[in-house]
Amino acid sequence: MSSSTIATGARMAPVAQRRTLGVSRAELRWLMWPPLLFFVVALGLPMVALVMQSLEGGGAAYPGMFSVPAFLGSLGRTLLMALVTMVLTSILGAVYGLALVASPAWLRIVLLAALMLSLWTSVMVRSFGWMLMELPKGAIYWFLGLFGLADEPLEIYQTTFGMYPAMIAVMLPFAVLPIMSALQSIDQEQLKAASVFGAGPLLTFRTVTWPQMLPSIISGAVLVFVMALGFYVTPLLLGGPSNMTISGVINSQLKTANRPDLGAAMSILLVGATILIYLIADRLFRVSEKWG
């Protein structure tokens, strides 16, 4: 897909393309090989292997996966979980993005550093950190105890309520970064013009800022949703086994049950659903254009 886009782009404006990149069209074609090769090896081969694994039992794995009692429930739960995470992360991400742009320089650095530090820390480590906080007698309990507010052990660890803050924290950078870049690229002249013509902050936000940040909110939301479909460690640790995701069921099929064909079939269903959802979102909101 990416090759045809570049090819048509080159055909439509061959001269401009050559000038901006400083390479000829032949060289351009050459340059496409390394990334293409990388994706064939890193994505294509494992996918082919997965499909063949799932067909090992003559295709029986596809109807067979529905006979695993936890499968359908966890599939529905995963979709709902991804949806809730997407909505909450997008709202918080929009607020965070606005705060980043509107705040004074020192605060902006602090906010950005916090976001980056979170992005650079492994999901496992962050999830364990949340676990230590949420334990019935964990850090939150200790903190509340300092003010005499906690006498009973807390009941947030391994509940659905205790799971979402951590999941939003894990996903937040992916929502904030596109919004931040959209806000930064807003033409300052437009804001000035709005205020010259007498618009208050609310009207300026509604007519100038909001329309320009909405596309990036949507593309961030799609990214978060697609990534949240693969959540495994965080909901398992903080939501408890009642919040088992489809990845958890796949893992148990592959690792414990020794039924790799069932696990592979489930994986393909998950990948297929993810691609389908992305294609629909792309069709509706033109997400990929915003990432280009």
Binding site: V48, A49, L50, V51, M52, Q53, E56, V68, P69, A70, G73, S74, R77, L135, P136, K137, G138, P153, Y157, Q158, L236, L237, G240, P241, S242, M244, G248, V249, N251, S252, L254, K255, T256, A257, N258, R259, P260
Partner: protein, 359 residues
């Protein structure tokens, strides 16, 4: 496809292991088992690739077994972290790079056709007859309830019915929460519901699930065993159901822990030599070395895991034996799984437990 994946995996692992071996032996000879034709201990050569779950248990093996075996025979034991997909492939008769690897009783029973039969000197006399010819380097683990002694100053739960009594023994219970950890869960629930130990099998999963539901709100689930220590020491759980090794670890860290041996389940774990092993002769010699009571006593003392060889108890003082799960002193308290029934019903147990966990 599995062949593609396994070959690739095997290749990577082989390169890695080869590199390690070259470093360890200073590029010494890597003779194949066929090349050493004559029998006898001095014919052993090359290396044994040993796959287990690492950690302090592996360290103890290094001290108790591998160092001495290397000095005696010149064979290097190379430890590696066990991968499920590799060992399942080998159990099914495929090739792989392990010469000897860790398994539970269910795997031995399900795949005994593809593993080497042990020589008499390598067989542990405390193992059940069905496992004895195949399970090498065995050790007994226990699964039961334990708590920090200070939690219940007047004495804690005496049995599984007490464990379910949250009025009498308040607090959360740390409970295995990974789909594969149906270890003892159904057995525990049925015992608490009044089923006699000898009537446990075949397990009444529906009845057990109902009993488990009654306590679900009082459970804190853990995904990996070491979390148990965190849950107990932080006071987040007052009682834990776990492998006894975690209680031993807490004790080694200076905590005062009580383990309830009444109705504690003991089950053998051990190693198998796959028929596709690259160095079966050296692996067998290692298994024999490990079965030597003197060597096994060192391991039991360090880890608290019970021996599979009755002569080991002669090597240990009464004090050393106190915390061993299969010590003669605990013999009339502990219970055994029906390993064969569990092996036959592995998928059913896993599916049912996963579904219960997912609620």
């Amino acid at each position: 496809m599995s062949t593609i994946l396994r070959t690739r995996r095997g290749l990577i692992a082989a390169v890695a292991i080869g590199a390690v071996a070259a470093l360890a032996t200073g590029c010494g000879s890597s003779a194949s088992p066929e090349s050493s034709s004559s029998g006898g201990g001095d014919a052993l050569s090359g290396q044994v690739v040993w796959a287990d779950y690492g950690g302090p248990t592996n360290e103890s093996r290094q001290v108790a077994y591998f160092d001495g075996f290397g000095e005696k025979t010149g064979v290097d034991v190379v430890s590696t972290s066990i991968e499920d997909s590799v060992y399942y492939g080998m159990l099914e008769g495929g090739s792989g790079d392990y010469d000897i690897f860790q398994v539970g009783a269910a795997e031995v029973l399900n795949y005994s056709g593809n593993v080497e039969e042990l020589t008499d000197a390598a067989q542990g006399d405390l193992l059940p007859d069905t496992l004895r010819p195949y399970m090498a380097a065995g050790f007994y683990i226990g699964i039961g309830q334990g708590w920090l002694t200070a939690t219940f100053p007047n004495g804690g739960p005496q049995n599984w019915a007490d464990f379910f009594d949250t009025q009498k023994f308040p607090g959360k219970r740390a409970w295995p929460g990974a789909p594969g950890s149906y270890d003892s869960s159904y057995e525990i629930a049925l015992l608490a519901d009044g089923v006699a130990p000898e009537d446990l099998y075949p397990l009444d999963i529906a009845r057990a699930t109902k009993k488990l539901d009654s306590i679900r709100g009082d459970l804190v689930f853990y995904q990996s065993y070491p979390e148990v220590q965190q849950l107990l020491t932080s006071g987040s759980a007052s009682i834990a159901v776990s492998v006894t090794g975690q209680f031993t670890a807490l004790r080694n860290a200076g905590q005062d822990v009580t383990v309830q041996y009444n109705q504690l389940f003991i089950t053998p774990n051990g190693f198998v030599i796959p028929k596709t092993s690259n160095n079966p002769k050296a692996a067998m010699a290692l298994a024999e070395y490990i079965n030597d009571p003197k060597n096994q006593a060192v391991f039991a003392k360090r880890t608290g895991y019970g021996p599979v060889n009755s002569a080991v108890f002669d090597e240990l003082s009464a004090d050393d034996q106190k915390n061993l799960v299969n010590a003669p002193a605990h013999a009339d308290q502990v219970l055994h799984w029906d390993e064969q029934w569990r092996a036959d019903n592995k998928d059913k147990l896993l599916d049912a437990y996963t579904a219960w966990l997912a609620g």
